[in-house]
Symmetry: C2
Subunit: 359 residues, 2 copies
């Protein structure tokens, strides 16, 4: 802390060059002879130089443009939490020249997603944070970013065959596995299980929900559970139709005792069950969204799995700034933990999560 920190100037003197040359070496700006570069690098290694982050921030003249592409969201939803985490980091680095914009697409329409991706590619920017729903389209998008040498970071989920600077997501497979475990613990009879998974225009399903389903099935298989599993239809684009759809489903399948909602819309099923006064069906959901938490507190959802979306956004943006501006090495794969939250633990949980990010 207190012993005098070594400065650019000191290194310059030690290496027998000027401060400007040291700066060029440190920032890899080129225009340095091999001889000078080696001399400086030798000293750098010896003295373990760490730039004064405050001074760096102050002197930074370049303006960085960062974009966040994600599904559309409203306040309190899953993607909004990721966004909030990003804003938290921006707040921390408020004295850095940085422009940030979010641009969102309809997550139930792959064509809209493509359109937005194209729009991003036409926008001048230095980095992109990507919240991906559609695997294939995101791959294409990333390859074009690669060509333009624009770095990108994933939040929520990773996308195969891409080369992101970093990725921040939970383990969706384990999430599904956990849901199976919890469902099995809370169901005290041998009734059937319903699985709710949204369908999308132009694509089967979101990658994350597919992985969750695999994890869920894996748990049931491993434990040799022989419950009947029903797929519950769900209309994500016209939610007003769901009540009729659910009515039809339950008319045909009276023996369902537990429902697993693989996306963040657990509250929709919870509210449906409440409205029909159905009380003996256990419900497990994903994401601590405001409506989900309300349903959890009311008791219509038994447990929710939290994916730490705020951490995802916070860490993703922080990593990006460290990579882009401070040229620090960053970790590529970052798996967020899954929090199991129940009626009893929701309050203390929420309070702490805010505390950690507070300034």
């Amino acid at each position: 802390m207190q012993q005098k920190r070594i400065r650019i100037k000191d290194i310059a003197k030690l290496a027998g060059v000027s401060a400007g040359t040291v700066d060029r070496v440190v920032h890899n700006r080129g225009n340095v002879s091999a001889k000078s570069r080696e001399a400086v690098e030798k000293v750098l290694k010896e003295v373990n130089y760490r730039p004064n982050i405050h001074m760096s921030s102050i002197s930074l003249k370049k303006m960085y443009h960062i974009l966040f592409v994600s599904p559309k969201f409203s306040a309190g939803e899953y993607w909004d939490s990721i966004y909030t985490g990003i804003l938290r980091t921006l707040d921390e680095f408020e004295n850095i020249r940085l422009s940030f914009k979010k641009i969102t697409y309809n997550q139930y329409d792959v064509y809209d997603c493509k359109r937005i991706y194209d729009k991003v590619l036409k926008t001048k920017c230095n980095a992109v944070i990507i919240g991906s729903i559609f695997q294939k389209e995101t791959q294409d998008f990333c390859h074009q970013l690669d060509e333009k040498e624009i770095p990108y970071v994933f939040v929520d989920s990773n996308v195969e065959n891409t080369s992101p600077v970093a990725c921040f997501s939970s383990d969706h497979y384990t999430c599904g596995y956990l849901m199976g475990k919890i469902m099995n613990a809370v169901m005290h009879d041998n009734r059937d299980i319903g699985i709710l998974q949204a369908m999308r225009i132009g694509n089967e399903s979101a990658n994350s929900t597919i992985l969750r389903k695999n994890g869920f099935n894996a748990y049931l298989d491993e434990c040799g559970i022989e419950r009947k599993i029903h797929r519950i239809p769900f209309n994500a684009t016209e939610p007003e139709k769901n009540n009729d759809i659910f009515d039809a489903f339950f008319n045909e399948n009276g023996n369902v005792g537990g429902i697993v909602v693989l996306n963040s819309r657990g509250h929709i099923m919870a509210n449906y069950l409440s409205s029909r006064n159905i009380k003996n069906i256990k419900l497990i959901g994903v994401d601590l969204t405001i409506p989900n938490i309300a349903a959890l507190k009311k008791g219509s959802i038994s447990a929710l799995i939290g994916q730490n979306p705020k951490s995802q956004g916070f860490l993703a943006m922080r990593s990006l700034i460290e990579y882009l501006i401070f040229k620090l090495p960053i970790k590529v794969d970052n798996i967020m933990p899954l929090d199991i939250v129940t009626k009893e633990t929701i309050d203390i949980y929420s309070e702490f999560k805010d505390l950690v990010y507070l300034k």
Copy 2:
């Protein structure tokens, strides 16, 4: 982010005074006429001035001395985690003029604690972070700090009738309550429960373990559980004697099926049980120390409750810096969540906890 931030200079111009005067008002340094002060304060309110933290750090000339008083610890122990969290914050603010020292006492000897407290009072410092074991002695200590107007922050637990700048701890009562709940879930028979709680020289017990015991008893009462409860003797100062003590205890009480260790020494009982090849006793402990985690992984501890000590240290030091140096308002009562960790979840848990603090 990008719109020009208002500077001290701008405020000076708007208020019709010099930058120096604005600075004096902002830092409450006195020597400002009522007229000037009001003019500046009016402008400050209008423009919502927020100083550039980088510039503040750079220009700061005063040296702040901060002390951490806590029980003695070795690597990987509970107090060491708090210490690590503190160091993490110091790393973040490495460019601030700040001296930090830890000073520790024997937590099983109230007289040593007093001696160390007196030593701290004789040391010149600007703030103290206190890890308290003994209620009464800490109260006296705090009152003397109050007199000298030295601010202090608590970690691990709060102390009544003191006026700390902030406190970071988990809820020990709830911790005990949770231990009761878990113990009840993992014990599948009606056997007795043993409670292990350390005795100290000159004082009954640490405040935190008393609270945990209360919480534990409260759970058993609420649920009408009628198990027999035995207090297990434990010698904290001469650990080599414990094997004999435990032998004697189990000779007399053969029907114990579960043991709750209310302090972080769960591994001692775990290792004793392993050494005696006793396998059908469930063990619940507190704190994710290295030996406890090892016992958890081996299966000799069923579950551990984590108190987020690293967060406590990290946030305590961060709050203190914000209060002391950046004059920001800080939250006084901060309750850390309790993590329930089992063999299955320990690895992903540990990994994430590191990630969050990583730079």
